[in-house]
Subunit: 246 residues, 2 copies
Amino acid sequence: MALLWRSGEPGEVRPGPKPGLSVDVIVDAAITVADEEGMAALSMRKVGERLGRTGMALYTYVPSKGELVDLMYDRALAELPAEYDASAGWRPAVTSWAEHMLAFFLRHPWVLQVSQARPVLGPNEFAMLEGMVAILHGTGLRPRRLRGVVALLFDFVRGAAQTIADSRLAPSATGVSDEEWWLARSSLLEEVAPGFAGRFPMVTWVESEDDDRGEDEPYFEHRVGETFAVGLMVLLDGIEAAVKTG
Amino acid sequence: MALLWRSGEPGEVRPGPKPGLSVDVIVDAAITVADEEGMAALSMRKVGERLGRTGMALYTYVPSKGELVDLMYDRALAELPAEYDASAGWRPAVTSWAEHMLAFFLRHPWVLQVSQARPVLGPNEFAMLEGMVAILHGTGLRPRRLRGVVALLFDFVRGAAQTIADSRLAPSATGVSDEEWWLARSSLLEEVAPGFAGRFPMVTWVESEDDDRGEDEPYFEHRVGETFAVGLMVLLDGIEAAVKTG
DNA sequence: CTGATATCCTTATGCCGTAAAGAGTTGTCC
DNA sequence: GGACAACTCTTTACGGCATAAGGATATCAG
């Protein structure tokens, strides 16, 4: 964990060859690999190769793959804004926070496989938290209530990001196009599970489009984005109720 | 996916030795392994050994480890209630759903590493959804709104479960006791990150206990459970607002 | 019995993280 | 300058993983 919080080390002069790498370039290379090929394809050897070294060379700078992943996570979080404009009230600020967060997760889907695995406790994770607690501080919510709200917000955004990221991977994995996949989903289910609609009437109903939507544009990315927007609205209303109760 | 929905196969008589195993006993054994040793320790070989076979023997019944994990997930979900008593209104019913769900995740922490990885679309997953949509159907919420609420609920409970599961693993991994770990967290941070409190004042504030709590009982399990309860309350209030708006 | 089909095993391939040992480089101290 | 220690990076190796390939054996229909 010391690596997470290291600042610019003094760089005392020491014997031995000049380091050809650094923790920073290793973390950057690892993030590139994860962005391009996904977390499953991330290996020490592959990161080493990208830097013109063997996989083992990385162990001079980083004690293990696990620590490298922690570093990747915290470094990636650095691209998030540190502050949000709450001058128009907490609602738009929280909305902005959630949207930045969602976009971040979609830019680095591999983060979704890190953030839920354990508390990493790096500086940029705290900076992100700091940003959103700062927004909500003005509401007058006491710490205990506020912790609940923070957890709720974070879990919701992460879950929504996960769903969207999945919806992007699923079709390419099966070879069908995006729209086809989601159009096929229901018929596929009826085929493999005869009587699906009768067995799960509520699910069938809730998955149906709303009355005010045309039948011609049922593609999933929009649908899932809509679900995010609705969930966020409901969540904000819940916070509002908590704020009013004091 | 056909395996997920297979009912009792007709069992047509066919040449070859009698099957010594079945998909069911394999899935059960795999769940036992995952419950006892965690998802990371789950391997085909280990499941095979538990059944007195080699790892390769499983491939007669199950096409890949990935499919086995999908089957594990859907089978585990079967232990959840199919219906909830909504006679006292949707609020207690949803609360009950959330508590069952949370307990389920904590009973099988490995599920947390499956459920967010991709849509599995097994029968018991739909049964679980059916149960909670049935609760909310009575609120009069339209499908679009309801989808947002469902996603919100599910993501929240899963995220909360993840946090609690982490808090149980973290100390044992580092070798310190549970209370020590969480007591040490702040001082550890001040040590490794001098000026933490000044750098992240809001985080420091929000992590402080509420005024009406004694200093003598700061252990984390309670704290995290509290956060779950608060989050759920906020969430329910949000749903209530959505219901009133119609 | 024959031939087809099934279960299950052994073996092998190519990944993975990382331990161990050593080659080569660069500094400090005498 | 020479010795030594510290350092980077490589090679090799170990034990694990999922799973492809091939073979031994058991069980059916004919």
